[in-house]
């Protein structure tokens, strides 16, 4: 127990320190970067809840982010903007205008409900079949978001979403997500799920209901994703369905994989490292574009470097930077063995 509290304290301190640093620098850009980073962290922690404990790769995660973002947006766009932003909206929703703070929660819940309804039968599948169906689910969600014009304004940008997400709100939710992910991991459900990850047959033999536990993990992950998406929506205030597709999936997945999918520490540290690298590379890209060495715009360099980093990490350290033990456990073990690494 002691070591879990230590883990939470260290990671929580890192999160708060990042937020404080961004605010004390007093530069608007850094504040924006930090806010986006906390949103990513919520998503990465959500993916960790499912992937880390069940061992199944899920591509559908970002789809649920989209569900949360659109739900929250539709319910909170002010009356006078609705006619313009969503001309074909169903009459019943036309006069609904709730506080964004409430709709962020609703966004998470709707994403969780959608996940609960769609995913139960899929949880029977393992390995490649599970991955292909989750990829199929992402495509289905994306197609629906892109074409359900009445609610999403189709492939066009949806605008007029009230701004509500501040640096500290995002930071607070990230802390809550951290505690949630850790609590699930150490709960009975989380431990049984990890038993099934390590040996499906043995876990089933001791009576673990694998399908149900995976389902619970998946719903919880979708809740995180929905809340993260809604927070993001109220931060950028206009977005299109393209934001919730393969590019974002790749970014979130790279954060989790580089940090280490099996640990909460990995999720948090991976987000910090990848965000830092991503922003640094972006500014290099912008610098090259400004200096004009190349005849055309430089784009895609960031993704190339990230992809190489992912492949390198997976070949050298397949479990990521924190493959099995949380940081608190590592530190306690170190103290017990007199400073020698375990």
């Amino acid at each position: 127990m002691h070591r879990h509290i230590l883990t939470l304290a260290i990671l929580g301190a890192l999160i708060v320190a990042a937020a404080l640093l961004a605010q004390l620098m007093g530069i608007r850009l850094y504040e924006r970067i930090a806010t986006t980073m906390f949103v990513s962290m919520i998503l990465v922690l959500g993916l960790q809840v499912f992937m880390g404990n069940s061992g199944i790769l899920s591509f559908a995660h970002i789809g649920f982010m989209g569900v949360g973002a659109y739900t929250s947006a539709v319910l909170s766009i002010p009356d006078r903007m609705k006619g313009m932003a969503l001309p074909d909206l169903y009459p019943i929703l036309e006069n609904v205008q709730l506080s964004p703070y409430l709709t962020i929660l609703i966004g998470g819940l709707v994403a969780a409900l959608v996940a609960a309804a769609l995913s139960y039968p899929l949880m029977r599948l393992s390995d490649a079949a599970a991955v292909i169906t989750s990829f199929a689910l992402l495509v289905v969600l994306h197609t629906v978001l892109t074409h359900w014009s009445a609610v999403t304004n189709g492939p066009r940008t949806l605008f007029g979403i009230p701004e509500a997400t501040s640096l500290w709100l995002a930071c607070g939710v990230a802390l809550a997500a951290l505690i949630g992910a850790m609590a699930f991991k150490e709960s009975r459900a989380g431990q049984l799920l990890r038993a099934s990850r390590d040996d499906e047959v043995a876990a089933a033999a001791i009576g673990v209901n694998i399908v149900k536990l995976r389902w619970v993990g998946f719903i919880l992950a979708a809740l995180f994703a929905g809340i993260g998406g809604a927070l993001w929506g109220h931060f950028v205030t206009s977005f299109s369905p393209r934001a919730f597709y393969l590019k974002e999936t790749f970014l979130i997945l790279s954060m989790l994989v580089i940090g280490g999918a099996n640990t909460v520490t990995g999720a948090v540290i991976g987000t910090l490292i990848v965000t830092f690298a991503y922003e640094a590379l972006r500014s290099v890209e912008a610098g090259i574009n400004e200096a004009g060495f190349m005849s055309q715009q430089v784009i895609g360099l960031t993704e190339i470097v990230l992809a190489l980093a992912m492949i390198a990490v997976l070949s050298l350290r397949p479990g990521g930077l924190f493959p099995a033990r949380e940081i608190g456990t590592l530190l306690t073990l170190k103290r017990k063995t007199g400073g020698k690494s375990p």
Binding site: A128, T143, L253, L306, L308, L314
Partner: protein, 296 residues
């Protein structure tokens, strides 16, 4: 009657292309039990090669051959970069590395070529049409059907009669046993990737022949098609992949003719929901392959 002939030609030409795409994916899956997410990018590589050599005075067939060879090289590169270093470690790791490799190739195309679609050289014959039973039929549909028949025949011969084909089928059935009997593992896997690249290259040229341009994201649709076709037909069976390709083409063509404009936008959602349903009903697909599902 005219309508029936047109429908059949549509299904056969689309199905031929789909079957070849699925075959390339399932060939690798059968041996390694791993999905190659970078498969669509092999088609992109073939397209960009064609675009880059387009300015040269070479005859078109030579350019097409160069494009196919480059797709094979890219297939081998997938093996060396994304699969070999992590193959033995975990399923998830390989799926992620192949996804990363796909992003890598796509962004390389964005960075070094252009985010905008580029034209590819195509011979005259691709834009001509002939009259069949009183209906104008594009020549490229006929070419696709012929190419599919020839390639499927060649492929069947390779798998049934040659040492390489028999060794690959043995490896797909029971990899450990095949190795013990002296089948060189890495060579077989690399050959599978090269053949997969060959199929992707040919189908890429036929596919791009329909559109006329190549863009960095062009590989996504063929990848999705190959996924669906494999899942419908059976991930372990080569015949299943071909069957799945034709079934999918039949479903797509039927939906194209029957769905209203409003619903047609959701076609992908329909077909993917179908995949999910089929996997639930028969996790193995319609055709069962060799019984051993051990990953290697």
């Amino acid at each position: 009657m005219d309508f029936a002939i047109q429908f059949i030609i549509n299904v056969l030409s689309l199905g031929g292309a789909y079957a070849l795409m699925a075959l390339g994916l399932v060939l690798v899956y059968g041996i390694l039990k791993l999905v190659n997410f970078a498969y669509g990018e092999l088609i992109m590589v073939a397209g960009y090669t064609l675009h880059l050599v387009g300015g040269s005075p070479l005859p078109w067939l030579v350019m097409a051959a160069v494009a196919v060879v480059m797709a094979m090289v890219a297939g081998l590169a997938t093996d060396y970069v994304a699969f070999r270093p992590v193959r033995a470690k975990s399923v998830t790791a390989v799926l992620i590395t192949s996804f990363a490799f796909s992003t890598l190739l796509q962004n390389a195309a964005l960075l070094f070529i252009s985010p905008r679609p580029r034209s590819v050289p195509l011979p005259e014959i691709f834009s001509q049409s002939v009259m069949i039973a009183g209906m104008p039929t594009p020549m490229r549909d006929i070419i696709t059907i012929v190419a599919a028949v020839v390639l499927l025949g060649l492929f069947a011969f390779l798998m049934q009669k040659t040492v390489l084909g028999i060794a690959m089928r043995a490896a797909a059935t029971n990899f450990t046993m095949a190795r013990m009997l002296g089948v060189p593992a890495n060579l077989i896997i690399s050959s599978a990737f090269a053949i997969s690249g060959f199929l992707a290259g040919v189908v890429g040229i036929l596919w791009i022949g329909r559109i006329g341009t190549v863009a960095p994201a062009i590989g996504l649709e063929p990848l999705l098609i190959a996924f669906i076709a494999c899942v419908i037909g059976g991930m372990r069976s080569l015949q299943g992949a071909v069957l799945g390709g034709f079934i999918l083409a039949f479903i797509d063509t039927t939906l194209n003719y029957t769905l209203s404009q409003d619903l047609l936008k959701f076609r992908d959602a329909f077909t993917f929901s179908l995949v999910i349903l089929i996997l639930l009903w028969r996790p193995e697909g319609l055709m069962k392959g060799p019984s051993s599902g051990q990953r290697t």
